[in-house]
Assembly symmetry: C2
Homo-oligomer: 417 residues x 2
């Protein structure tokens, strides 16, 4: 069988399983999740064996460092997967929730009710735990899920997918509701993106290569692409607070999308604010790249290039610019930001209000670190990703964002004419 | 200038106008709408002159009937456009509405706030009033709009677009917030669909040709495509109510998407229910196409072909099938319906509940006509179209569906680490 036919057959299995999955009861879904958690714990040895095979292949092909680290499972990570699945079981079932209801003058009673989206494909790389996390969340929201992991984690993913299938059967659910694409050829992604009649939504979790592979997708995407976040320290900022926020936004986890890449500082407080901040950042290993005025104030700063202002470093590097007004800061963020997370530090209410209103980002902060752009930090109880889309879902996503709605209209014989 | 460069230049003008339009105050937007309504009334003669030129061209090229009817403006229709704009001014401004808010244990206060989507392109055909209706609604929701009407209405649309631009300037808004694509070449649509960095959303309002032209769009679509609606008359139906609902669903306006195309009748009541219904429908000019059992009961019915069950007639034709159970009805709707609007007539609460839950359509009716699938009938106060998408917006759309949201997070120095 060729890749196209094989992939389509897999998508069709998921498609066929979707209607029944959509009608699964909360008890069935939680039963599945409980069974999966227990089965992950019981199968720890088999999971680690499969993972060892992936790790051997990765090392044999010369992979090292962060790549191998992301791929690696150990007893602690296996337990974390199981615990994560149990957490999803604790979350309220979004399906069937009445979002809004009202009655029309003619007596029609309209309810807007949450329902599953249908078939959701998750395309991901290297981290085998995504197989379990993504399946738990999409299935809890009543969707069928197509899991397409990276070739580097094929053995680990296949092992976990088999546990998911077994747990679905245990709960009297269709095992095809979680369909694993076992062929690691990238052509499978090309096939998936051409079949909106089989998949309602693709959630990609990967880097630039995946983004390019999905260009022109006929299936809607809920991507998580770039995160180029700003912090603007206003002239009316509490400088101690601003320093703590900047250190957190840059240093607490520089490799993630919600960490700060560009710092803007109002000229009126730059001389007082920047030297002590720079000292702390430098001590924490941060390289500072500044505009001309910054380089005069901060001894260790090297000049920033035009490219720096548009670069998501995901590393211990920070570009710093001095601005003369709120307007300049907002215009800079509009030009260089990725509209994911941007913050202002200020004690001036009017300035804060303008920043909130005029900065067009998924998450806009006043006096807090951009690092809070995260499903858990928002209280969603789950990490289903952060959307850089404007439509359907924007910013941190919870279970609700994996659903859509329908209207149920109850009458007593109403007609229009 | 070639079509591509010219179209991109137009899109870029709209793009540039979008941020300021997003910040327009409610007063400014309503000022614009009031000015537009008054200017439409004052310019009636000019509008009708422009329309006369379009009508002459249409007749010269042999167009007749419904095509010419849709294209035609008269004093009454011009007044209706002006009144429609005034109605939009009355609607609450969705921008800035707080959809949800909560406080986190760490003191962060999170607000989910409605904001405009950005640049919305409306691609439409023949009806010049869409120029005004679509502009009024998208601009009221704070978006910039790109208007791309059909070549047949070019003069009428250009005249109305000029009034819109003037009214925007009158309200101190950027006239480019409503950018009219004056080139009627269909290549403009191909250019538009390739530029997601310039347009956030395309709302197509047209038939199969437009659907095909937009295939593979890189810009998200909020389409209104097929409407193949069912009514299922259950064995426990109030037959008088069922008859009234069926007549309304088929006959009140057969040319629209929410009218009934397939009727399913439970075998237990078919002999009692169908003959009087058929008599009323036939008297109203409806042609009935039935399965074998229907043809035995209804003298005038001709046999339905396999194709009939999948055909959206948009005409006085009805396909009728007898089923033996609720399950058979639901399975039939899943196979043949377009998931827009489907109804059950029943007095049995358990049967109604199963139908509501298991029929996966944007609008599911119990004891009412499918013809209520409509923004005005839902009480949205405006007709921004009916989405056949599953994501972002599903079913009848109001002003809210022309917006997205952002999160505003207010803190007092919170950091994650």
């Amino acid at each position: 069988m060729n890749i196209e036919a094989e992939t389509i057959a897999a998508l069709e299995r998921a498609r066929a399983a979707a209607p029944r999955m959509a009608l699964a009861t909360t008890a069935q879904k939680n039963d599945f999740l409980a069974q999966l958690a227990s089965s992950i714990r019981k199968s720890q040895a088999a999971i680690l064996d499969a993972n060892a095979a992936d790790l051997k292949r990765a090392r044999d092909s010369g992979r090292t460092g962060a790549f191998v680290e992301r791929l690696t499972l150990d007893a602690k990570r296996v337990e974390a997967m199981a615990a994560g699945v149990e957490q999803v079981a604790q979350l309220a079932d979004p399906v069937g929730t009445v979002i809004e209801k009202w009655e029309r003058p003619n007596g029609l009673r309209i309810e807007k009710v949450r329902v599953p989206i249908g078939v959701i494909a998750i395309i991901y790389e290297s981290r085998p735990n995504v197989t379990v996390d993504a399946a738990a969340l999409t299935l809890k929201a009543g969707n069928a899920v197509v899991l397409r992991g990276g070739s580097e984690a094929l053995n680990s993913n296949a092992c976990l997918a088999a546990l998911i299938a077994r747990a679905l059967r245990h709960a009297q659910l269709d095992a095809n509701a979680a369909t694993f694409i076992g062929n690691p050829d990238r052509e499978t992604i090309q096939v998936m993106k051409r079949h909106p009649e089989l998949i309602e939504l693709i959630i990609p979790r990967g880097g630039k290569a995946l983004k390019n592979a999905l260009a022109g997708s006929a299936v809607p995407l809920l991507p998580h692409f770039d995160g180029l976040c700003h912090t603007y320290v206003d002239r009316a900022a509490d400088l101690k607070m601003a320093e703590a926020i900047c250190v957190d936004a840059k240093c607490s986890r520089p490799s993630v999308c919600n960490s700060m890449e560009n710092l803007l500082v109002h000229s009126a407080i730059a001389k007082e604010f920047l030297p002590p901040l720079a000292a702390r950042l430098t001590a924490a290993g941060v390289e500072i790249r500044g505009d001309e005025r910054v380089c005069k104030i901060v001894a260790d700063a090297r000049p920033a290039t035009d490219e720096d202002w548009d670069t998501e470093y995901l590393d211990l590097i920070l570009s710093v610019k001095i601005v003369d007004s709120l307007d300049e800061a907002i215009a800079f963020i509009e030009r260089h930001g990725s509209r994911l997370a941007d913050a202002i530090v200020t004690d001036d209410a009017a300035t804060a209000a303008r920043f909130e209103r005029e900065v067009d980002s998924a998450t806009v902060y006043v006096n807090a670190s951009t690092r809070f752009t995260d499903g858990f930090e928002f209280g969603f109880g789950a990490e289903t990703g952060i959307s850089t889309n404007r439509l359907h879902a924007r910013g941190p996503m919870g279970l609700n964002e994996l659903t859509t709605y329908k209207y149920v209209i109850r009458g007593s014989g109403q007609v229009r004419v």
